[in-house]
C-alpha cells in the first residue's frame, strides 16, 4: 500500500504498524513524535497503530524556533 511520510509517498507492506514503519525508516522513536492523519499518536501506541492505504504520517523532531513560520 502507499502512504505519505513527511510529505513523501512511500510504498510499504499492507497493515504495517507504526513501530515497524520507524524501524523501516531506521528511525529511533526517542527524539521524535508522530501524528497520523493529523491526529497525535503517543509513543505507547506505536505498536498497536496499524496504518492503512493513503495514511499521512508526520514524524517530527525538535528544532530552534522563534515565533511562527509561514509555509
Amino acid at each position: 500500500m502507499n502512504i505519505r511520510v513527511n510529505g513523501t509517498t512511500r510504498e510499504v507492506p499492507d497493515g504495517l504498524t507504526l513501530d515497524r514503519l520507524l524501524a523501516i525508516l531506521d528511525q529511533r522513536s526517542e527524539g521524535v513524535a508522530v501524528a497520523v492523519n493529523l491526529e497525535f499518536v503517543p509513543k505507547s501506541a506505536y505498536q498497536h497503530t496499524r496504518l492503512s492505504e493513503s495514511d499521512t504520517v508526520e514524524i517530527v523532531a525538535p528544532i530552534a524556533g522563534g515565533l511562527t513560520c509561514g509555509t
Binding site: 527524539g31 497525535f40 523532531a61 528544532i63 509561514g70 509555509t71
Partner: protein, 261 residues
C-alpha cells in the same frame, strides 16, 4: 520573581532560539539575556538525521523552561496535533499556540486560535496564545481558560516595534489580572522598554536579538531594557505635559530683572 503559568521565574524576557548565526551564539545570547524561557519548534525529521537531538541537548544544558510553539500551523487540527507532539517530545505542558491566517503578514487567525485554545486547555495544556491586540479575542482566550495572552507588537520579524500602543494599553487596562506578553515585532531595546512601561508582564524576542550584528551584546541590551521598562512601570512615570516646566526653582534666580523683591 514573578509567576508565568505555574512557574516562578526571575526574568521577564522570553527568547526565541531561531535565526542565530550558530547554536553556540544562540546559547551564549540566551545566557546573556538572563531569559528563563526559550521557545522551540518541531520539524519533519529526515531519515537518519540527528540534528534535532543536538539542538535539544543544547537547550537542556541552558536549564531554561522550554516553550514549544505550533509554528506554521494553519488550522485547529494541525495546531492541536502539533501541541501534543510537542508535549511528548519536550516533556512540558506549555505550548505557544500559533494559528496563522495569512502567509504574508503571518497574522493570527483569531477565530481558530480561540477554538484551539479551548481544546488544548481542556486537555491540560498551559496555553500561551499568540494573538493580535483585539480585546474581544483576548477576553475569549481568557474565557477559554488561558491565563496568559500574547498580543503582537507588530508583524513577526518586521521589527516595527509597537504599532498600536493605544490598543495595547487598553488591553492592559481591561485585563489587569491576565499575564500579558508582547510577542512579535519588537526591533529595538527601547521598544521592549516601552512595552514594559505599559505594564506588560513580559516580552518575547527572537529576530531582534538573533539578527543583530552582535547577538550576545543585543541580548544584554534587551535584558537591561526589560528591566528598565519594568522598573519604570513600578516607579510610576510622570505624564507628558503640554508646556515646558523648569526643573530648577525660579525663586531667587540671580539677575532677576525686577521690582524690589
Amino acid at each position: 520573581m514573578w509567576n508565568l503559568g505555574d512557574q516562578e521565574i526571575d526574568s521577564r524576557l522570553l527568547t526565541g532560539t531561531a535565526l542565530f548565526p550558530s547554536p553556540e551564539i544562540m546559547a551564549d545570547a540566551i545566557e546573556a539575556s538572563g531569559s528563563r524561557v526559550a521557545t522551540v519548534a518541531l520539524r519533519r525529521q529526515a531519515p537518519g538525521e540527528r540534528s534535532g537531538e543536538a539542538f535539544w541537548s543544547l537547550i537542556r544544558e541552558l536549564g531554561v523552561h522550554v516553550l514549544p510553539n505550533t509554528a506554521g500551523c494553519k488550522s485547529v487540527k494541525e495546531a492541536v496535533a502539533t501541541a501534543n507532539m510537542a508535549r511528548e517530545l519536550f516533556g512540558t505542558r506549555w505550548i505557544k499556540l500559533e494559528v496563522i491566517g495569512d502567509d504574508y503578514t503571518l497574522q493570527p487567525d483569531t477565530t481558530a486560535l480561540v477554538e484551539a485554545a479551548r481544546v488544548l486547555v481542556a486537555d491540560g495544556f498551559e496555553v500561551f496564545p499568540y494573538t493580535t491586540e483585539d480585546l474581544i479575542v483576548a477576553q475569549r482566550l481568557v474565557d477559554a481558560g488561558c491565563r496568559i495572552v500574547m498580543p503582537w507588537g507588530s508583524p513577526i520579524g518586521s521589527g516595527r516595534g509597537l504599532m498600536n500602543p493605544y490598543l495595547l494599553k487598553t488591553l492592559r487596562n481591561r485585563l489587569p489580572d491576565v499575564t500579558l506578553i508582547v510577542d512579535a515585532g519588537i526591533g529595538r531595546p527601547s521598544d521592549a522598554a516601552r512595552a514594559m512601561e505599559l505594564g506588560y508582564d513580559g516580552v518575547l524576542i527572537n529576530s531582534a536579538i538573533a539578527l543583530a550584528d552582535d547577538p550576545v551584546g543585543m541580548a544584554r541590551a534587551f535584558r537591561a531594557a526589560v528591566e528598565a521598562g519594568r522598573l519604570g512601570f513600578e516607579a510610576g512615570a510622570m505624564d507628558p505635559r503640554e508646556t515646558a516646566t523648569p526643573s530648577t526653582p525660579t525663586l531667587g534666580t540671580p539677575f532677576w530683572h525686577g521690582q524690589d523683591a
